[in-house]
Symmetry: C2
Subunit: 556 residues, 2 copies
């Protein structure tokens, strides 16, 4: 049984490197050094890619390698076929065109946003073979295990002739994508806005980059985190007041992440006004893992916010962040530095609260942003909206949540991440937010998915905030109590009307459910005068005109 | 209530940058460009650091900035005092000397290893004010939120005059430490083995590095993951056989992480021999998030292992990894590339199984490596040894574990990470591994810790493997069943003898407990002839003499 260890292995151990060298040789005629003319970009891709390759075509939450996407979509499908796309964002029409043309076949992704409906159709029609819908950290992690890209198509603001890349505030996913690809003998191609003699700072070292293409147009960035204060409703202001008094103040939450919606934008705009009344400055909401939300500007300017680390940037915020290095992470060149993986890890392990909105919640507290005909994907919310069992440091907020969750006095005390869903009982078009069954369950059956796409599972949710009040699920001791606590804040939705009134009253007496008046909040006080900024223009003024909002938000 | 947004803020927003400029000015007289002579290193540190600074003095799992540690320990404690050390490893005597001298006061760390006993004494004596004992991902995450270093003292193999750093296989924690420090206007100082004109590859771009010191001696690396096959016991071989048949084969585990102990080394050495008998090649243990364990060499050479991403390197493995780029991540220079944060993320989100050993397990399945007089710290095991609730991709192993954990047919099916503790019922010095109460509970009381240091909490553990059999905790439906399943594999320890024999027999009938014979394993077959390598020399032969073991493992 003992094998002979001294028999030399006949196997080749560098097939990846050989493949890489062949690809580079095929591409050589299109390149001068690392530089490739934009007219040759499609030919470059045809030379470098092989059928069946795993390809990451960034494709992030915000920035897009849009020129390379167009070039790839124009490739000859008899040459380039069956690619396996492994990228976080499927957000451009070109991303789906690849599948229509047969250039790509399999997809592993994380977020689809504007392409959610088209993606659902492509899945139903069989054009796309779905691997899985991931969370960000999960997909990045698989880059190092079983989804390592053969080719990464990345995007930067500028590059030098050695391939050193400057991404500035828009670093996002690129460092992790490029590390996984370059260090597994893959090929890295960058589109850049311009070639320069010297980059302002090195976000990715040139020796990880094989080709640089100066794109004819500046790359696209989606202003995904801009919320116009003028569109914040009074109901959203009320839920924000509830969250501030019933959760932020109650637990002393200092380190946190906010979701993308108007409810959390309202919280940001209430810090310098409503929260100020209760002397909470410095005691809540001081350290954020957060994109640079324009609605955070008033809280920054009034000294509420002490530090922000960001996943990515936000259109129009560059000059403001450059002028606030005490708050934001900025490079030696002065501009902001983001990193989605680092910030997701920070949001998972180093914050005490995740708060976000959702489209649907079921009576068990499971939530989803999927509807019958749209697959929005997950992004990072499920990473941050979960209790990391590998956390071992205490904080007041975390320990209090842990005590509430414990039944009696456990032998081993533990803390608990606060995971809050903040919603209005009825959403857009007056669809009820609370539903007996998530649409995603039906969708999973229709599309034969391994798992129904659930954004945050009910057992990770600690609080649900609606205009009717706060349900503290940590204090529920049975599944029935939990369900009634959720029904008890679900308002006039069918889920809410099906509540057991006696149990709900009992839960309120036990402070499991807290109504606005239980927290000293008069719903009539919830009005727009409470917002520190009531318009995009107000945000500009707060920033000393450093914030430069994108055109579509300028309605003056 | 509406604030005036157009009142200009009188506040300075660049105090961090101003402080940085003052520090750089103080240090200028010791530097030519970025280069500082090693004789001036202590003066440099005295010039650059300020009392109360958060300092990361790497201090990783393996590589050590040992020269800079000695220089800092020699600093004048009337100049440099009350530093807050925020680093993953407290493993050198100098790390503790800093606290004795009053240069450092507060500590946030992750792993102590050889200094565990001295650290416990320093905590008991009040020399160290403890923040928390973290897991790796958790500490790295806090670097971006509330433990951002003011100064990072890092270590590389070589640097050029621009400060570009080459770490080669020993990258480990450095990229994340340096990113957090440099992008928050902190100061980065690197000790290097040599200055070169051009680094073989850029692991950290020079514009993030302020000073480079050529150290008089090569930096120290601990060969932490080398296990001599000659020391693997027959009991460990038996537990390895159980794990292979009862877990790896049963669940079809392909993506995994192994702990540091002899039990998992035995599994590695049984893959090409024992596991081969069952036709498992390609069906189990193909993709690893793992340090380059020398005991993995036979499994690599026989084609079992398809890909390995590593946290760090291992002494003596450099040439072997360079020759196996299809297996390991390697840079364009040919040498291996590691990254602790990326690999921890991979171990958390992209593997289906974590298996490791521990010193103590209680009847609830909680485990600890802390003993009455030693604080070993956590390292990364609790990150990987936990079920990540933010995972959304399916695999056969994960789905099967999820089905077993589910009581009945849940509305929302979910998977589950396999978290396995593999131990012998009695450890070194015949101390029982199974104890009614973890020593760490007592220690936490003595040292007034916020939380008892628990390595992996019982509710994350899915299986416990001992020489008596496997307890599958997923199949337990009550706390009592769970406790009896654990007692039922705890052998002749007091915990094992206190079992309820009737319940344990019932659990065995339900396959919750499986004895060796239930898996077709004869304990008498567990002998050293099953090991693919029986000595360090065998490992060298397997590697074609590419593996170059450190002297202390060469007993010939």
């Amino acid at each position: 049984m003992h094998l002979q260890p001294n028999v030399p292995s006949p196997r080749a151990w560098d097939t990846g490197r050989q493949s890489r060298e062949q690809r580079l040789a095929s591409a050589a005629r299109f390149a001068r050094g690392k530089l490739v003319a934009h007219q040759d970009a499609t030919s470059l891709l045809e030379a470098v890619l092989r059928p069946g390759d795993r390809v990451c075509l960034e494709g992030d939450n915000q920035k897009q390698a849009d020129f390379l996407a167009r070039c790839l979509a124009q490739a000859d499908p008899t040459v380039l076929r069956d690619l396996h796309i492994v990228q976080s964002g499927i957000v451009l029409a070109e991303h789906l065109d690849l599948f229509e043309a047969g250039i790509a076949r399999k997809l592993d992704f994380s977020y689809s946003g504007p392409q959610g409906a088209a993606l659902a159709r492509a899945l139903a029609g069989g054009t796309i073979e779905l691997g899985a819908i991931h969370t960000y950290l999960e997909l990045f992690s698989r880059y190092f295990v079983d989804l390592t890209p053969h080719v990464a198509l990345t995007v930067a603001r500028c590059a030098d002739r050695d391939g050193n890349l400057y991404m500035g505030p828009n670093t996002e996913d690129s460092p992790v994508v490029i590390e996984a690809t370059a260090f597994k003998q893959g090929i890295v191609i960058a589109q850049v806005n311009e070639l320069v003699d010297k980059v302002p700072r090195v976000d990715v070292p040139g020796d990880r980059v094989d080709f640089v293409v100066e794109a004819p147009e500046t790359f696209y960035v989606e202003p995904l985190f801009t919320r116009d204060p003028a569109q914040v409703t009074e109901t959203q202001i009320l839920t924000a007041m509830l969250a501030i008094r019933g959760i932020y103040e109650e637990y002393g939450v200092r380190r946190l992440n906010h979701g993308i919606g108007f409810n959390t934008a309202a919280i940001e705009l209430l810090l310098p006004t409503y929260a100020e009344r209760f002397g909470l400055k410095g005691r809540i909401a001081t350290h954020f893992a957060l994109n640079p939300h324009p609605t955070l500007i008033p809280a920054i300017e009034t000294g509420w916010v002490q530090q922000v680390h960001s996943f990515g940037s936000e259109v129009g915020m560059d000059a403001y962040m450059r002028a606030r290095p005490d708050i934001f992470f900025t490079g030696r060149d002065g501009s902001m530095a983001s990193n989605r993986l680092y910030c997701q890890a920070a949001g998972l392990y180093a914050t005490d609260l995740f708060i976000g909105s959702t489209l649907q919640i079921d009576p068990q507290g499971n939530s989803s942003t999927v509807t019958r005909d749209r697959i929005a994907g997950f992004g990072g919310a499920p990473n941050m909206g979960s209790d990391p069992h590998g956390r071992r440091h205490a904080s007041d907020a975390w320990m209090k949540a842990g005590r509430e969750a414990a039944d009696g006095t456990p032998a081993l005390p533990r803390g608990r991440k606060l995971v809050v869903q903040i919603v209005e009982t009825f959403g857009d078009k007056l669809d009820p937010t609370f539903v007996e069954q998530l649409d995603s369950v039906q969708l999973a059956e229709t599309l034969h998915l391994d798992l129904p796409p659930v954004m945050i599972y009910g057992d990770d949710v600690t609080h649900i905030v609606t205009e009717e009040g706060i349900a503290n699920l940590l204090l529920c001791r049975t599944a029935y109590e939990r369900e009634q606590a959720i029904r008890g804040v679900a308002g006039y939705t069918p889920v809410g009307r099906a509540r057991d009134r006696r149990v709900v009253e009992d839960l309120r007496a036990r402070k499991v459910i807290r109504r606005p008046e239980d927290l000293g909040i008069d719903p009539l006080d919830a009005n727009k005068s409470l917002l520190a900024a009531r318009s995009i223009k107000d945000l500009m003024r707060w920033s000393g005109n450093l914030y430069d909002p994108p055109r579509k938000f300028r309605n003056w």
